[in-house]
Amino acid sequence: MSAPLANSGRGPRQQFELSIGCVALRLEMSDAQLFDAASARYAAFTGAAAQPVTIALNESAAPEGPPADFDYEFEGAALRVFSNGIRFDGVRHQYALDSLLRVLLSWKLLGHRGFLLHAATVIRSGKAYLFTGRSGAGKSTVASLAPEGSVLTDEISLLRRENGAWRAHGTPFWGEFRAAGSNTSAPVGGIFRLQQAAENQATALRPLAILRALLPNVLFFSADAEANRRLLEILSQAATEISGYNLAFRKNSAFWEVLPS
């Protein structure tokens, strides 16, 4: 992992485009070292897409005009979303950039009927299976037990409702497994709330219980009432339309046998 880049120099402005969950972003920065680190970090997610949203990184000029539609600060790094662009300031290293990108995505996905979830996503037989839970619940274990190449993410999953169906997308945000996510997507086969147990067993949940399982694991950073109403509407729809289960999980690969097909 790269060291903090507090002393990195400024050079000509460079930019690269990335697409995470089909949300297209263009990062512009003058910091050559941060540019190199970020280009390498998001290599699997780079690529041109139609009308990316531009993010100006560490611009020295103070913004003018109306206040931000959404803003967030994390350990000295600040994100501000304006009607005419997005600014990330005080970004000293790629971890801060990673954090602000997650916050931004959680906000942007509202407009795409989507959300970010603390969950590992594994593809099996063409469907995405999401395993959610707090740290230590077994997300990384599930990812490590899955065949190579089948893990979309071991930490932060992205769900979107597209053409009337839910799809899970890979993200570049990793956890303990430290696997760079895969930039692909698949229709959602089910969401499983991990609970460590002596035996593997899946129990179907009704929509209210699925919503209860989702809420503590959703990444969302806005206190705005309207944004939260929108999020809750999206999550309720997901809880109603996606099959959800409690998965008693022994942390061995035999758990696949108890998953509903």
Binding site: L208, L211, R212, A225, N228, R229, L231, L232, E233, T240
Partner: protein
Amino acid sequence: MSAPVVVFWQKNPALAWREIDDETIIISPNDSVMHELNDTGSFLWKNIDGRKSAAELAELLVENYEVKPEIALSDTEALLQEMSSRKLVVAVPATSGVSP
């Protein structure tokens, strides 16, 4: 002695809520706390609109559920107090003419 002050009840406008499986989940965005209301709690929640008193809400409960008026009123008042302490609802003076 003056007459008791009648208040109307309204939802805290800072909240997000959703009804699912006949229950209501309420999110308080400022502290990320989740609250749940059961069937009758959800019924009252839907009818809390800033234009009804506890007695009027209790009357609706009697009309829609098999419950005695005095029980409906005490349950409604208890729920409103509980929701008020959690900042889910606020009391407004009944004379203020709250607009929808």
